[in-house]
Amino acid sequence: MRPLLYLSTALGLMALAFWAYRENYATQATLREITRLRAEIADLSEALAMQRAEWAYLNRPERLRDLVALNFDRLPLLPLEPGQLQAVDRVALPPPPPAAGLSGAVDVSGEFLPGEEDPL
């Protein structure tokens, strides 16, 4: 009985030693990973701050105003006018849909407009 006990203790010790060895290296690897990730987070948040600053710089009102003036031919943008704000009841709602349930034939024949291509 005693040799068995000694043997099992020795084997248990070896198993624990092996486990501790593995855990130690796993911990060290994780710590290295944390350090790496933290550095990556720092880099990314720095890049993000840079992008945000650049976004704000490129969207500064002065530059947008100049761009609007430069591109006035293509997109005639003007400052917001008081007349553009209206009560809801002054908004033209879309016309009611045509009455459903067509009966009888619908004449769709006609001439092509000059200059238009024959779709067929």
């Binding site: 710590l31 933290r38 948040s45 701050a49 600053a53 976004w55 009102p61 008081p82 704000l85 016309p95």
Partner: protein, 595 residues
């Protein structure tokens, strides 16, 4: 182990037969046994020695291996393992009320040198002078050669300059990371933001400290590591600020003014939505404070907060509202307004020596801006009560705005308060305050008589204020101000749909030694809109404006500040989401067409 007997019987008997001494056999056997015992104990001792040796070899070997490892490995600083995220931006960002960036940090590098490690200082000096135009080659060479081991070359270098310095390739040139404050919108809101510079500097980092404006006032909050990730939200609206700045700049140029200021304020919350002072500066490259000359000529001077001026007729509404509050008059009471009015040795006159009298209703006093009428009302109130009322509107103390300059801008109040001061103060002469004071006081009238302290920080909603007058009085005062625009001196202030109410003020600029300068005025227009339910207060101040479209130069606020203010309201009110009350007819009729 088998134990051999010392006197084996067989050998003894045989020895006896042959006549030998059997004791010899015993001795021989004893000797043999002793030898065996000796051999065994030596073997054991030798084994123990080997184990001990092995132990020492392993122990010392382990120590030697560890020492070798330590000697051979790269040294690394011990790192504390904390699970909190590290702070990258030491200083919090500043954003406007909608979260648009006003100030942020930017990683750049500082350049320093270790002259003793330099391979070729002469070449480094030559190359550096080529990269940085402000560095002088002979100066650098002298500084590299004077024996010091460390020297700062530049606080901030641009990426392309950094690349150029790398290309010099000298080991004596080194870079340290630097967080730099960046104001992406340039000049916009420069006076509010102020500026920042470096405090204590080390190789690896430098402190960024605020030098003016909000940056300096809230420096502790911005540098608090616990709140570094939370941006500081100001009450300013970037769009409104940009529109006000653009229009004020145009108005200042058109009216040939030396300077201008505008404040747009929400009357319910006290939030300042736009604060512009012109001329302005770029906080990214903050100019040095002027050492000589008048500080108010410097672009750093904040006219809206630091500019303490006599605000002229804009003060009249305070005398009239107080008289109504005290029940002395109502809007229709007729008051003696026979000009000129003599008081002791002083003569109180109207603009261009007109006479609106002999009698004028209180409402008409405001509409026509009668100095004499206001003076009569002020005399009814008396010095003590007038002083107390102006005090309750905050005219005797600096404003509580969150910029470092605000606390220094103390209104100029006469030391004694005789009746002549009561008279002059009632129409805005003799005491000086900043446009910000005026905006806060008008906001109190617009807010139904409740004074809300102005702020530059975003507030969640309306705040409790102090009541300075009854609600009916405030309503009546706003109605009078509305008449100034519809029929009085501010007729250019009408913006269709926004019911602008306001009061003009034209004050002569005081001379250094006393008295007033000729043809140099400060024009102010304090507006409240929309009059039926006031939401915003706008104060526009122009310094020495002159309107030259007519045959004669005009210097009254009605011709200068009022049109500028009207344009600002026309542009900003839609941005603020304010719908015109009586919508003007649509410019183009949109017809529904099907196809």
């Amino acid at each position: 182990m088998t134990r051999t007997p010392l006197r084996p019987l067989a050998r003894i008997l045989r020895a006896r037969e042959t006549g030998e001494n059997p004791d010899a056999i015993e001795r021989e056997n004893v000797a043999r046994r002793n030898e065996a015992i000796r051999d065994r104990s030596r073997g054991r001792a030798e084994g123990r020695l080997v184990v001990l040796c092995l132990f020492f070899v392993v122990a010392f070997g382990g120590i030697a291996a560890r020492m070798g490892l330590l000697a051979a490995s790269e040294p690394a600083e011990p790192v504390t393992e904390t699970m909190t995220a590290p702070i990258h931006s030491a200083r919090a960002d500043i954003v406007d009320r909608n979260g648009r960036l006003l100030a942020t940090n930017f990683l750049t590098h500082a350049l320093y040198a270790h002259p003793r490690q330099m391979v070729d200082p002469a070449r480094v000096a030559r190359e550096l002078a080529r990269i940085f135009p402000d560095m002088r080659e002979d100066d650098l060479r002298r500084r590299f050669a004077d024996g010091r081991s460390f020297l700062w070359l530049r606080r901030v270098v641009a990426p392309e300059q950094m690349q150029a310095v790398h290309e010099i390739g000298d080991p004596g040139l080194l870079f340290g990371p630097r967080e730099m404050r960046l104001y992406p919108n340039g000049r916009l809101a420069a006076h509010v933001l102020g500026g920042a510079s470096f405090g204590a500097e080390g190789v690896q980092s430098a402190e960024v400290i605020g030098t003016a404006g909000v940056e300096a006032m809230l420096d502790t909050r911005l540098r608090d590591p616990g709140q570094a990730g939370v941006p500081l939200a100001l009450s300013l609206d970037l769009r409104v600020q940009a529109a006000v700045a653009e229009l004020l700049q145009a108005g200042m140029a058109m009216m040939n003014a030396r300077g201008a200021a505008a404040i747009l304020m929400d009357v319910k919350t006290g939030e300042v939505l736009a604060l512009v002072s012109l001329p302005d500066f770029d906080p990214n490259d903050r100019p040095a404070a002027a050492v000589t000359g008048d500080p108010s000529d410097s672009p750093l001077f904040n006219r809206a907060m630091q500019g303490v001026y006599e605000l002229g007729s804009t003060f009249k509404i305070f005398a009239v509202s107080q008289a109504m509050e005290l029940g002395l008059v109502n809007p229709d009471t007729m008051v003696d307004a026979d000009a000129p009015m003599r008081w002791g040795k002083h003569l109180i006159k109207e603009f261009k020596n007109k006479n609106y009298g002999p009698l004028l209703s209180v409402s008409d006093i405001i509409t026509k801006s009668s100095n004499v009428g206001t003076a009569r009302i002020a005399l009814m109130i008396g010095p003590e009560r007038q002083k107390a009322f102006l005090g309750s509107l905050g005219f005797f103390v600096p404003t509580t705005l969150e910029v470092i300059e605000a606390a220094k801008a103390r209104p100029l109040v006469p030391a004694r308060w005789p009746e002549i001061v009561t008279i002059t103060t009632s129409y805005g002469h003799g005491m000086s305050a900043s446009p910000m004071h005026l905006a806060a006081a008008y906001a109190a009238i617009a807010n139904g008589g409740v004074m809300v302290p102005p702020t530059l920080l975003k507030r969640a909603g309306p705040v409790e204020g102090v009541r300075v007058m009854r609600e009916e009085v405030a309503k009546a005062a706003v109605a009078m101000l509305r008449r100034v625009v519809t029929e009085g001196t501010a007729s250019f202030g009408e913006v269709e749909g926004y019911e602008v109410a306001g009061k003009t003020g034209t004050a002569d600029k005081p001379k250094k030694g006393g008295g007033y300068l000729k043809d140099k005025v400060i024009n102010t227009f304090a507006a409240v809109f929309p009059a039926s339910d006031p939401k915003y207060v706008l104060v526009v101040t122009l310094d020495e404006p002159v309107e030259t479209s007519g045959p004669e130069p005009r210097r009254t606020a009605g011709w200068t500040s009022v049109p500028v203010a009207a344009e600002i309201i026309r542009r900003t009110a839609p941005l603020l989401g304010l719908r015109p009350l009586a919508p003007p007819p649509a410019a183009a009729q949109v017809t529904a067409a099907g196809n």
